[in-house]
Subunit: 351 residues, 2 copies
């Protein structure tokens, strides 16, 4: 028994190997694989056979080195200053079904395209500079950003670095950066008209955090939708997007307006909290008070009664983000764009 290469794994085949098998030059194989120029069809065929035969897989690193393209787009979950990566807050957000849907949408576009999608949590100055460094250095071709905090400096940083980036949801400050978002007016219209149509006359809102664009926009547009139907004022309490906040908000709303018969909550978990409070106060849902949530999350289905809720096409939005970032990467200097999606109302039993 010869001791040749006793523990060396059989080195992966390179372009050179394929070239040798096919009896052509490295350059030709490269051309075939990236089909970048006309190559004689017969040779083309031979080369592919050689690729099959050798089990060749292009080496990403080598390719990146020369093309200055990493072939990866980071999905970044970004907080402002206050938090660090160990904060359970992150797990909470990552565990949110919403995040999973985003991920699914992004991967459905990027994985088939052979693009890697590294995930990063960014919650400190250090992490932020490292991210931008990676981007400038070309370790990353672009970023998809889920920015959770209105004062998050990351979006601005990214625009300043002139680096491909797309946000989920409009930025808190008006800066020139691409994003996808949902038509909050449509959502509000859907919700208000549904509530009105089923006979609600005293309607209140449980708002999300008002310093976040989503929280702010949902309340403002709901009020204006109600105004268009003749309701000059809609009482609202902020619930901070948490179930407990929803419960507190509902309690307060009930205290101030005991005759409430319709509630629009800016997300499902707050709606769920509201339902609990409503039931505990002896009211039936939807008979005495109708409740509409937002997100169509698993909470909506798990709730009793299951929640009527506004559904964002999150997967589609995320997929569009992926397409947008690829566009930006391919055409440097392209204009920043925004794509707005239409929500739908999923009618279940709570309203």
């Amino acid at each position: 028994m010869a001791n040749e290469a006793p523990h060396t794994p059989p080195r992966a085949p390179t372009l050179e190997d394929v070239a040798q098998v096919a009896g052509v030059s490295r350059a030709t194989v490269s051309r075939v694989i990236n089909n970048t120029r006309n190559v004689d069809p017969a040779l083309h065929e031979t080369v592919w056979q050689a690729v099959e035969a050798t089990g060749y897989v292009p080496n990403r690193a080598a390719r990146s080195l020369v093309t200055r393209r990493a072939g990866s787009v980071a999905l970044v979950v970004s907080e402002g200053e206050s938090r660090n990566e160990d904060d359970p807050f992150y797990s909470r957000f990552l565990g949110d079904p919403f995040f999973g849907r985003v991920l699914g949408g992004v991967l459905s576009v990027l994985n088939p395209a052979g693009v890697h999608v590294p995930l990063t949590l960014v919650g400190s100055e250090t992490a932020r500079t490292k991210l931008v460094g990676d981007l400038r250095q070309g370790q990353l071709d672009g970023v998809l950003v889920l920015s959770l905090h209105p004062q998050d400096p990351l979006p601005r940083l990214l625009t300043e670095a002139r680096v491909p980036a797309v946000l989920f949801g409009r930025p808190a400050e008006p800066i020139p950066i691409s994003y996808v978002d949902i038509a909050q007016q449509t959502a509000s219209k859907l919700a208000s008209e549904h509530l009105l149509a089923r006979g609600c006359r005293t309607i209140a809102a449980i708002a999300g955090s008002l310093d976040m664009p989503a929280g702010h926009d949902r309340l403002v547009s709901f009020r204006s939708a109600m105004a268009q139907n003749g309701y000059a004022y809609v009482p609202a309490v902020e619930g901070g997007f948490t179930q407990e906040g929803g419960e507190r908000a509902m309690t307060r709303l009930l205290a101030e307006h005991p005759d409430i018969d319709g509630v629009y909550a800016a997300n499902d978990v707050m709606a769920q909290g509201a339902v609990h409070v409503l039931r505990d106060s002896g009211r039936r849902v939807p008979d005495d008070v109708a409740v509409i949530g937002f997100d169509d999350s698993s909470a909506a289905v798990a709730s009793r009664p299951p929640l009527t809720t506004v559904r964002q096409p999150v997967e589609d939005m995320a997929a569009e983000m992926a397409r947008m970032i690829m566009g930006q990467i391919d055409h440097a200097g392209a204009r920043t764009t925004s794509v707005i999606f239409e929500p739908t109302l999923v009618v279940r039993r709570s309203a």
Copy 2:
């Protein structure tokens, strides 16, 4: 205005640039940065200053090319044959808080270490070969696998390719692959003793899918824990880990054993379904029937009453996976290992 480099971004500094600024050779700078050998402390200092001054960031691709290390570990969500990537099933799993916790745990170890964590959904033969190809080619240093299906061929494939890999949960078939898991016996002991201690005498189980290790082990170990307390037989119905399945299982259990006063469900959503059925049947939880769930997911908190549940230290387990894979990568040929974690009982109001 000179038109020198009108649109060329100022090329990122390379090792060479730093070397020039520091007045040393490329090799020395490399040594300092990776501190791989003794370097004169004074020079060391000079070099770091030069790094600061130039804003140098090492080029990952170039480094990978020579070290044959990608600096990235994929997190793979793997299904068996039956599904494709567009299947909403994936979104559902990704949206599961459990997944987010895994992600959080993994990132808490790998991000600080500068390791990228690309996410991949693998649900087809093509995707599987591509993954193994990436691994062999060195685009990926290792994989962390969440295998969802008992017949999933991926774990076996990975061991055959002799590639660094760690599973969450023991493999369905006995193959030599590293994994982390939970001590199901402890979980069962905790649950059974809690139920018994609060006076339950007719106890049933709602099992998960029995072809999955988690589903199987939870039921088997629960029965043996009950047996140790003198209960020879525990009626059980499979609920497939879904809320609806939990409802159906509870309905059937109730029909066959109307005197049930304690239920152990293999996850929270089934427990939540069970609670709904129990309440609809006029029984009070926990007064008439106590219910224990598993996972300590958001469903446990959202449920009314909030669920007493078995909590796995998922973040810790995921972090350990990350450490294990790094160990495997650094010491090729290391033995496959398993690490088993102890669960705890989170007592809320349902039992």
